[in-house]
């Protein structure tokens, strides 16, 4: 009954809002009123949990947002490719190496796609993978700690968009270059594109136990743009499919010059074949430089290894690794249905959508049913691989996800809608508007062999008038639709951070039981840990001062430090001695030219501080931890360079008694 009242109140509001706002300017408004018992379907009562985690790429914020479905509530922002002063990610000495690349420390990126690890084609709840589009990288984030554990740079890539799509047992994830570039950093005229520019696709092996990544091999391809990708599954396991555009090989005004050809390609890759050639030693080892950064859960620290080799297979020399399937007009999405039989090409500029059949593709290859070749690579006859076309589906198809009942859901950017159609019959079943200009969309488990279904979520590029205005820059947004019945029903709008691109959802029941609560202090292997107040101390090494500090509700030890001089570099290694869930402490010091650090129970993190002038500098805990949190503070005395103030430190010692470590 309660939910009824809530709903009624809500609908009155919506209608009122509709009358007031809409009359002025907005012809489409009435359709925004949700139908039926939408409110109760997304209502998660206080204290209750959501059914799904929604893992959403943050686009240009370089982060991942973690939301609940169906409520749309934002739980956490996970820093991946961008520094995050809130937690000290990228600022603390321990996490700085995570953002190292061959170019130096790159503190920002553009994170587009999420791939959740799978076993036998189904979600296994272990890792989230994500790509950095700008300075090519891939990351692995733990589903236990919800932290970025590994970042691998991709050499020979001009922008890592076609990534990180994974095979059904997470054997490989791929990183296909968006922009072709000359290999090895060659200095050539841009106009020599056809001759000098090449594409590159990295196959990254994932260790099934540790999740650690390494580049197994790279495919060298003709120069054009790789957009998106999906691995085969079931019958098509062993294959990978990539959408390619700019087969015109244009290098300027792509908007026009890369939109000339009637058809671009879907590139089908037989990666098992590539493995065979590698096993025969056919790969060529090339000198490159790329960073591999790993965060260790025991030392709570990241390390960077500079790698210098990669094994390359040039597909123009091995024409049975790769085949091109013609696909109308600049395909974007290239999505494989849960059975692995159907491959959907979404030509951004096409008026229909081709669906290819893996069985037919195999038959066409066997019969050498080719219409020609591109740089020596066979181009399959369009009709020979075609299962059929979805006629007049909408304008500007981008991406397709699948439910567990044989239906597909495609996003249409230009006509701002989601269209539901049947994969086998290709019949359009339903369409709903999105507000506005949908990009990616996501069905829980949509890219797996076993979709969880229930919802489709739209990630929109434009919100315009959907939320209270906040100046020129508006929130991005998602919209949740119920797909349990024949008709899709809009349930909820919810704002998102950054610019969401791809997202996945996974049942909460697969994640919550394994979530890390604390780091055991006994297992803390950070070399700068103080495991107990008895180990708190200050040491000088030349002009480096190492403060081994402990934090517990609600004091820092030591909290009086003297004998630091201008010109010194002070490292505050703060260990949180708490062993209870949800009791982080923070540390900040006045004038620090970086950020704060947040330290989880049992963890050690380090903030570097360089005093520039003499004086007394306060520091304090930034995370409200107890009734006496405001007391959790201390003083650092900074003396002039060359002065002879002795090094001393204490806690709870009143002057006169002070003598070294005070307990």
């Amino acid at each position: 009954m309660k939910t009824n009242i809530v709903y009624r109140g809500l609908s009155v509001l919506v209608i009122l809002a509709g009358l007031v706002v809409w009359q002025g300017c907005k012809p489409k408004a009435p359709t925004t009123v949700t139908m039926g018992d939408a409110a109760s379907k997304v209502y998660v009562a206080p204290g209750q949990y959501d059914e799904f985690y929604n893992i959403v790429s943050g686009g240009f914020n370089g982060q991942i947002g973690v939301y609940g479905i169906p409520s749309g509530r934002l739980f956490k922002i996970l820093p991946v490719f961008s520094v995050f002063p809130e937690s000290g990610y990228g600022y603390s000495e321990e996490t700085k190496p995570m953002l190292n690349t061959s170019h130096g420390n790159v503190p920002w990126d553009d994170l587009h796609h999420i791939a959740l690890s799978t076993t036998k084609g189904e979600h296994d709840g272990r890792w989230m993978f994500a790509n950095a589009n700008n300075t090519p990288r891939v990351a692995r984030v733990s589903f236990k700690s919800f932290r970025t554990e590994e970042i691998l740079e991709i050499p020979n890539s001009g922008g890592n968009h076609s990534s990180p799509f994974i095979t059904e047992n997470t054997e490989y994830l791929v990183a296909g270059t968006r922009f072709s570039v000359p290999m090895g950093g060659k200095d050539v005229p841009i106009s020599s594109y056809k001759e000098n520019f090449k594409g590159s696709i990295s196959f990254i092996k994932v260790n099934p136990e540790s999740g650690r990544m390494n580049i197994a091999f790279q495919l060298r391809t003709p120069g054009f743009n790789f957009d998106l990708s999906r691995a085969g599954k079931g019958a098509s396991h062993g294959w990978f499919f990539f959408s390619c555009y700019n087969t015109e090989q244009a290098y300027t005004l792509l908007e026009v010059n890369a939109s000339q050809n009637d058809k671009d390609f879907i590139m089908a890759v037989n990666w098992k074949k590539a493995e065979e050639y590698l096993a025969q030693g056919k790969g060529k080892v090339e000198k490159v430089k790329y960073a591999h950064n790993i965060y260790d859960d025991k030392t709570h620290s990241a390390t960077t290894t500079m790698e210098n080799e990669v094994t390359v297979l040039d597909v123009m020399e091995f024409p049975d690794i790769v085949y091109f399937i013609p696909c109308p007009k600049s395909p974007h999405g290239c999505d494989v249905d849960p059975t692995g039989e159907y491959i959907v090409g979404s030509g951004k500029l096409a008026a229909m959508m081709p669906v290819f059949s893996f069985t037919k593709l195999q038959a066409a290859i066997a019969a050498k049913d080719y219409e020609g070749d591109f740089n020596g690579i066979p181009v399959i006859k369009y009709e020979s691989a075609l299962h059929g076309e979805v006629k007049k589906p909408g304008l500007g198809p981008l991406h397709t996800e699948f439910d567990e009942k044989g239906n597909a859901y495609t996003s249409f950017f230009v006509s701002s809608e989601i269209v539901k159609w049947n994969v086998k019959t290709l019949e359009v079943l339903d369409r709903v508007p999105t507000y506005y200009s949908i990009g990616h969309l996501s069905v829980p488990g949509g890219p797996t062999s076993k979709p969880h279904g229930k919802y489709v979520i739209a990630y929109n590029k434009i919100t315009k008038d959907r939320y209270l205005p906040t100046g020129p820059e508006l929130t991005q947004s998602a919209q949740l639709y119920d797909i349990s019945g024949d008709k899709m029903k809009l349930l909820l709008d919810f704002p998102t951070v950054g610019e969401p691109h791809y997202a996945e959802s996974i049942p909460a029941s697969m994640i919550t039981p394994n979530s890390t609560k604390i780091y055991k202090i006994e297992e803390n292997e950070n070399p700068y840990a103080a495991k107990g107040e008895g180990q708190a101390r200050v040491e000088r090494k030349g002009n480096e001062i190492h403060v081994y500090m402990t934090a517990i509700r609600s004091h820092l030890t030591p909290d009086n430090i003297e004998g630091v001089k201008v010109g010194d570099e002070v490292y505050f290694h703060v260990t949180n001695l708490e062993q209870d869930w949800d009791v982080p402490h923070g540390f900040a010091i006045r004038g620090a030219l970086n950020a704060e650090i947040l330290i989880m129970p049992g963890e050690t993190q380090t903030l570097k501080y360089k005093p520039l002038v003499p004086g007394i500098v306060p520091f304090y805990c930034t995370d409200f931890c107890s009734a006496l949190h405001q007391e959790m503070s201390g003083y650092l005395r900074v003396s002039a360079a060359g002065s002879n103030t002795p090094l001393k430190f204490s806690t709870g010692v009143i002057e006169g008694e002070a003598s070294g470590a005070g307990h």
Binding site: V44, A45, G47, Q48, Y49, D50, E51, K454, P507, A508, S509, T512, P513, N514, K517, I518, K520, I521, E522, K531, G532, E533, G534, T550, I552, R553, S554, H555, T557, L577, E578, Q579, D580, V583, S626, A627, L628, G652, H663
Partner: protein
């Protein structure tokens, strides 16, 4: 459809949340520990482990003399409190602070909630042995 909150996965090893029922003897506190057997002479291995745990997880708030820092000093605690009460206080502190009168009195004094430091039953027993030694038992 909402999923229910998952049950606390640490339940097996963590007696804290399991026994909330009041026990007959209030001087033994509230929690899974109903009876502790104490032997003499003291178990030196336990004392050593207990001291290590103390240094790492308790020393920041408890001193070994009778001075209160954040929490009360531990001097004479084994004569002031039953061993069961002490172990329940360590293992089941949230419930103790909600329901045990003695624990509540202390909270009113200290105004700081004693944290759950995630000790196992064995750990807590080791700390108890260390406390006995600190109180002069042999």
């Amino acid at each position: 459809m909402r999923s229910d909150k998952p049950s606390d996965s640490t339940k097996e090893e963590d007696p804290n949340k399991s026994a909330v029922e009041a026990i007959t003897d209030p001087t033994k506190g509230i929690g899974a520990i109903k009876n502790v057997t104490m032997n003499t002479p003291l178990d030196q291995e336990r004392i050593k482990r207990g001291e290590e745990i103390y240094n790492m997880k308790c020393q920041a708030c408890h001193k070994l003399d009778d001075k209160r820092v954040v929490g009360p000093g531990w001097k004479d605690i084994t004569t002031r409190r039953k061993p069961e009460w002490i172990m329940n206080m360590i293992l089941n502190v949230d419930v103790m602070l909600e329901q045990d009168e003695e624990a509540q009195k202390m909270l009113e004094l200290c105004l700081m909630r004693m944290p759950n430091q995630n000790l196992s039953i064995g750990d807590a027993r080791d700390v108890l042995e260390f406390m006995r030694q600190n109180d002069g038992e042999k």
